[in-house]
């Protein structure tokens, strides 16, 4: 059973916006959105503490364990692929390999911020200013490697403390199936992504 004191500490750490802080070196602030975190407190959770790479997905932050991240790089020239789902805008060359690119906004049907359309729709318009901000998180799981596109990469958050539990806040969304934990970060939802499940689902089948 996870007690409330432990949850309070985690909440204040995340909401401080200090990515270098750890749950144990930040002062407790009970006024922070503990309500949402309490929703996650149940007896069937398992804790996971490790470093995560966090990047923007629409109104959320997604977290992927750094063990599954190979690199974050700029977007190179994208070659479109014929007859693939819309969430696969193409491939780019990465270290002499072909890196399939994955647009999670499209995969999860998430609307981007008002001023920014789906990344996929912009990829083939050369030198589009929006593309300059696009970053590629090169990740691997299940012996597969893809580049996840994002307009904003927050960086690595050390010692993130997730509780493995079926998501409740986003339970009505298509995204929920691929999330194994959720918590608040600076008032925004931080979602721990099940990368293995995602790549298996997104893989282009015969």
């Amino acid at each position: 059973m996870v007690n409330d004191e432990k949850l309070n500490i985690r909440a204040s750490s995340l909401d401080s916006g200090d990515s270098a802080s750890t749950p144990n070196d930040t002062a407790t602030n009970a006024s922070e959105p503990i309500t949402d975190l309490n929703r996650l407190a149940t007896s069937d959770v398992s804790d996971v503490s490790e470093a995560f790479l966090c990047f923007r997905l629409g109104p959320f932050w997604l977290a992927v364990a750094v063990m599954q991240v190979e690199e974050v790089c700029e977007l190179g020239m994208v070659s479109p692929l014929p007859r693939v789902p819309p969430y696969l805008p193409g491939i780019m060359s990465w270290r002499g390999r072909a890196l399939p690119l994955l647009d999670l906004n499209s995969f999860f049907d998430i609307k981007e911020r008002a001023s920014v359309n789906s990344i996929s729709s912009e990829l083939h318009s050369a030198s589009h200013p929006v593309l300059q901000s696009v970053r590629v998180a090169v990740v691997s799981a299940e012996n597969m490697r893809v580049g996840i596109l994002s307009h904003q990469v927050r960086g690595v958050l050390e010692q993130m403390h997730f509780q493995r539990k079926k998501p409740e806040i986003i339970q009505q969304t298509k995204l929920a199936e691929f999330i194994w934990a959720e918590m608040l970060l600076d008032g925004e939802l931080l979602l721990a992504l099940d990368l293995n499940k995602l790549l298996q689902a997104a893989k282009v089948q015969r």
Binding site: M77, S79, P80, L81, P82, R83, V84, I91, M92, S93, G96, R97, A98, L99, P100, H124, N143, M144, R145, V146, L199, A202, K203, V204, Q205, R206
Partner: protein, 168 residues
């Protein structure tokens, strides 16, 4: 120098270090076929003199037009159709992509394996490898895949195509 002349004098022999190919391209889409399997490069014409159009190409039976088959965007539809006649395991097939046809040698070092994530896709489309071309990547086609492509039947030798044999 015409394209056909260039092709006919090209060394068709492959080696461990390189693969001579015929490259079909349209905008940023590149498709390569090993030249050892290419019989002829042709150009689409129609009976009424309105030549080199997509409509003329569509009148040729047994032709797989990659613009259609790959569902490429209409904004990069080619003005001209060139066709290559290919020897496959079960006979001969015709393939078209657009107006640009180039003969070149792909160094083996520029061939890039298909990532596991895309293996199912590549198998479905008969693509056996990627290759680096300019700033983009192209697709090296598995020629015998054309035999099982649902759009293909036996080549219609009466189709409206002008062509020139480029070797053998």
């Amino acid at each position: 120098m015409s394209l056909v002349d260039t092709a006919s004098r090209f060394d068709r022999s492959s080696s461990a270090d390189s693969v001579p190919v015929v490259l079909l391209s349209l905008d940023v889409v590149y498709c390569a076929v090993e030249i050892s399997r290419v019989i002829q490069i042709e150009e689409v014409v129609s009976e009424d003199g309105w030549s080199n159009t997509a409509e003329a190409a569509s009148s040729i039976e047994n032709l797989i037009d990659l613009v259609d088959y790959w569902q490429l965007p209409h904004n990069i539809m080619p003005r001209l159709r060139r066709v290559i006649l290919i020897r496959t395991a079960k006979g001969q097939r015709r393939l078209s992509l657009g107006e640009k046809v180039t003969v070149l040698t792909l160094p083996s070092s520029r061939l890039i394996p298909i990532p596991l994530f895309l293996e199912g896709w590549a198998r479905r489309l008969g693509i056996k490898a990627f290759f680096a071309a300019d700033n983009y990547m192209g697709f090296l086609l598995e020629v015998d895949w054309l035999d099982q492509c649902s759009l293909m039947e036996d080549v219609d030798t009466n189709s409206h195509i002008d062509g020139a044999t480029i070797g053998e």
